[in-house]
């Protein structure tokens, strides 16, 4: 397969966008799962960077590798990282570590995980331990990373619960997860993730399981906290509405690759890749073209065990160029006249 060759070319272009201000820079990340049914190449050369204090939205359909990208940064993925680098720089230091070089459960990684980089998961139900109180679970992180003093840890835990808008934080700290509603649990998760004021927060579909009103509250909260603490956020979602409301920059993923990357305004007002355009055309818009057919992308995401030659989107692409798109993987290139907008499509090379 020509994956390797084309992917390396990408990394070179990808790193051009990097400035001194980045907290994390992922270069040509490759991740595979070795299963009994065959090898699944989950990430095929993913490169991006997240500037300090910015929100990067990562969007795509299920199975495109967006969650695995987040888990790789945390070194929590069950897959095997087969190449690439994840460079991370914490707040106020110039020291850069390559996370892929660290041992998964080694002391350095444990110092970073939950402290400098933390993560919020989709299911607040399953990501909190049902056997311990919410307060205990937050204190655990604080005791591990910040202070040895139990009373101090308790005080900080209650503080952070108050900050995420919990009514009566002392009582909530003594509650077990099952006593809280979905929205409250997600707030508790956010409190836990922010308890050590991380440099980077990875939010993996944090609002997908919630109702709209709760979702709006949680997004509002994340925006406020992000402004206050200055944390960078990697926001993984499939909801384009949430992306528009939350993110500064957007990376669109398809089958383990970033196929378009731009500022949020460009993604919505000047999208380039046919996949991004189709994705935007397929969401129902309030007040527009009601009663008319929605546009849909024909076909489905290919089976993960197979590899598609050329551009991975070509079998579903309305603009595929026969003889080119089905044979050659397009490189990531800058859109003419822009220094931030990149696209991986033969139409723009």
């Amino acid at each position: 397969m020509t994956n390797v060759a084309t992917g390396t070319g990408t990394a070179a272009t990808g790193t051009q966008i990097v400035s001194e201000d980045d907290v994390v820079r992922v270069e040509d990340l490759r991740l595979s799962f070795y299963t009994t049914l065959g090898v699944v190449r989950a990430l095929n050369g993913v490169s991006f960077n997240i500037p300090r204090g910015k929100v990067l939205g990562v969007v795509g359909e299920s199975g495109c590798g967006k969650s695995q990208t987040g888990l790789s940064i945390m070194q929590l993925t069950p897959g095997r990282i087969e190449g690439g680098r994840i460079l991370f720089r914490e707040f106020n230091t110039s020291e850069v570590v390559d996370i892929t070089k660290l041992e998964k459960n080694g002391p350095e990684m444990r110092k970073i995980r939950g402290n400098h980089i933390s993560m919020i998961f989709q299911e607040p139900m399953t990501s909190l331990n049902p056997c311990y109180t919410v307060g205990y679970q937050i204190e655990e992180a604080i005791l591990l990373h910040q202070t040895q003093d139990k009373a101090e840890a308790r005080r900080r835990a209650v503080d952070i619960l108050r900050k995420v808008g919990m009514p009566n934080p002392e009582r909530i700290a003594d509650s077990y997860p099952h006593q809280l509603s979905g929205g409250m649990r997600q707030r508790a998760m956010i409190a836990m993730a922010l308890s050590c004021t991380p440099t980077l927060l990875i939010a993996d579909e944090p609002t997908t399981a919630l109702d709209v009103t709760t979702e709006a509250q949680i997004l509002d909260l994340m925006r406020d906290l992000q402004n206050e603490i200055g944390t960078s956020i990697m926001f993984i979602t499939h909801n384009m509405g949430v992306v528009a409301q939350m993110c500064d920059e957007v990376a669109v993923m398809y089958l383990g690759r970033i196929i378009e990357r731009a500022a949020v305004d460009d993604i919505f007002y000047d999208p380039k890749h046919p996949y991004t355009i189709s994705l935007l055309r397929s969401i129902p818009r309030l007040g527009v073209a009601r009663g008319q057919k929605l546009e849909s992308i024909k076909g489905t995401v290919p089976d993960p065990y197979s590899t598609v030659p050329g551009c991975p989107f070509h079998p579903r692409c309305p603009a595929a160029i026969p003889g080119l798109c089905d044979a050659v993987m397009p490189d990531e290139t800058f859109v003419a006249g822009s220094r931030t907008h990149t696209v991986r499509c033969h139409l723009y090379t």
């Binding site: 359909e61 979905g182 009103t213 509250q217 993110c247 999208p271 189709s278 009663g291 160029i321 003889g323």
Partner: protein, 369 residues
């Protein structure tokens, strides 16, 4: 107005629900004594006209799915009437029918479930799943059955050759299509769609929504569309009913409800929709607290503890659902006085044209890359 967007719409009422209640007992202690009730649906009234789509929205736990299931008698109602205009028997009250009578009406009302993974029996082939209703109702057998199943699968966009395969071989979107084929098998009049697209990816969601609309036009179907995604409901519904803790608080044509809401809860729900436009960043209306538990609801209007317009009367008296003109039903004391904000139309953000297919590239260019 585009409420009459689909042809074949009439003023004839297919289903009328009056005072429908569904209470679930809470049992506790050794003797499992009943200590209270979860009033999941607590006296709702609405009607669906022939050929229209009524959207039913609300937050989780508001009783919207329970309503759908109680109408079909998958759950037995605690009280109330469900009057269905059966094409063969005429108007019947579904709530009072016994098993054998229900079996005669069932072909005309079907359901599509939310989760395409748990709603198909993994031990049956797709052909058996879609053919089961036909066998139960003794509509067809043998070759006629196989032909009908093939026709149904074709109708929903699944190749009939796949009839002998099992559900695990299909993707989420394809499974949902199989669920739709099963619901269509007996030529129903009413289909309850219980969150049919919420488990699907956006691109697949659009395909399934389009399929539902095509089928509605072709077979003159009536949908009760239960969902929590307000953009999807706006797209597909002619009229929308909003539920809050077991009650309908507002019901109107889609146009009126989304752009001229009259209930403060509807206003808050609409304001919370994340708009896919980065130039319109909105702050949600703060709704203090959580949705109350249907086992222990507040006094008066159930929404009053969270309502920013609440006055003293709201704490004491529960407003009835009333028509304030033009088939706009609201349960709020101040429906006429409040000036509420609807959603803004997203017509400023351009719909980018898809690039067209290009000519094949000569072999020489390909070689250089």
């Amino acid at each position: 107005m585009d409420t009459a967007k689909k042809n074949g719409k009439s003023d004839e009422i297919l289903l009328e629900v009056r005072g429908l209640k569904k209470h679930f007992p809470i049992q506790s202690g050794f003797l499992r004594r009943v200590t209270g009730y979860v009033k999941a649906v607590d006296g709702i009234d609405f009607y669906i006209k022939k050929g229209e789509t009524l959207g039913l929205v609300g937050e989780s736990g508001c009783g919207k799915s329970t309503t759908g299931r109680t109408i079909l008698r998958l759950l037995d109602p605690t009280a109330g009437e469900v009057i269905f205009d059966d094409p063969n028997i005429g108007k019947v009250d579904l709530a009072k029918l016994n098993r054998s009578q229900l079996k005669r009406v069932r072909p005309n009302m079907q359901i599509i479930f939310q989760d395409p993974f748990s709603s198909l029996n993994p031990r049956l082939t797709v052909g058996q799943i879609v053919g089961e209703p036909l066998e139960i109702q003794k509509v067809a057998s043998g070759q006629a059955l196989r032909d009908r199943v093939a026709e149904l699968l074709q109708e929903v966009g699944i190749r009939p050759e796949n009839m002998t395969r099992y559900p695990h071989a299909f993707s989420g979107g394809q499974r949902q299509r199989i669920g739709i084929a099963r619901a269509l098998a007996l030529n129903p009049k009413l289909i309850v769609c219980d969150e049919p697209v919420s488990a699907l990816d956006v691109s697949i969601q659009a395909q399934v929504l389009n399929l539902l609309e095509d089928l509605q036009e072709k077979y003159d179907l009536t949908y009760l569309f239960v969902a929590h995604d307000l953009s999807v409901v706006e797209h597909i519904s002619d009229r929308v009913a909003v539920m809050y803790v077991g009650y309908i608080v507002e019901m109107a044509s889609t146009e009126d409800l989304y752009y001229h809401p009259k209930h403060p809860y509807t206003e808050a729900l609409l304001a919370a929709i994340p708009k896919p436009d980065p130039r319109k960043r909105t702050r949600p209306i703060k709704l203090p607290g959580d949705v109350p538990s249907p086992a222990n609801p507040p006094s008066g209007c159930y929404f009053h503890p969270r309502c920013r317009y609440a006055e003293d009367i709201c704490k004491v008296e529960r407003p009835p659902l009333r028509d304030i003109g033009g088939e706009h039903w609201v349960a709020c004391h101040f429906a006429e006085k409040l000036q509420l904000q609807g959603v803004s139309r997203l017509n400023e953000i351009p719909l980018i044209e898809l690039p067209k297919r290009q000519a094949p590239v000569p072999a020489t260019t390909t070689a250089t890359t």
